[in-house]
Symmetry: C2
Subunit: 71 residues, 2 copies
Amino acid sequence: MKNIKLKVARVQKDLTQEELADIVGVTRQTIGMIEAGNYNPTLNLCIEICKALDKTLNDLFWEQDYPGKNA
Amino acid sequence: MKNIKLKVARVQKDLTQEELADIVGVTRQTIGMIEAGNYNPTLNLCIEICKALDKTLNDLFWEQDYPGKNA
DNA sequence: ACATTATGCAATATATATCTTGCATACAGA
DNA sequence: TCTGTATGCAAGATATATATTGCATAATGT
């Protein structure tokens, strides 16, 4: 499931996938896959992304696209 | 860095490490290491833990023990 | 038309999250 | 004292997050 919130927050900061990746210390592909969904990133990476985008974990990763949400 | 919030939330639910582990589908050791800190769990696991304990990501995993917090 | 930038997709390699098993300690109850 | 429960710690195995490389496409500017 795509993470639209993350993509929006990134675009709001006028950052490209590669720029965000550089800031948080991962590869462009990793950011791309997180935005594309079907991925399960690490807590530390999520936190770094949130800090880079001035958001919180709940802002970007809560109640949007975790498996079994509407079960 | 130890995750006290997680331990407190678990005890409030009267759950043992092993019981919580069974609920979220991991091993007792995994829960133990997350509580003990020096660990980097997966986002999906964090979400499952939050759901099991009726907490949010921010409640249990935000601004407590991520690296560089006070940098 | 050409070059550049941003993104998507995929295969292989590496790092690390998680599992499995086992042992040790502390504590509560019989 | 003995047994069961809850937890901590550690070594080796497995699954998967992430890196690396490469190619394809759309959009933009010259």
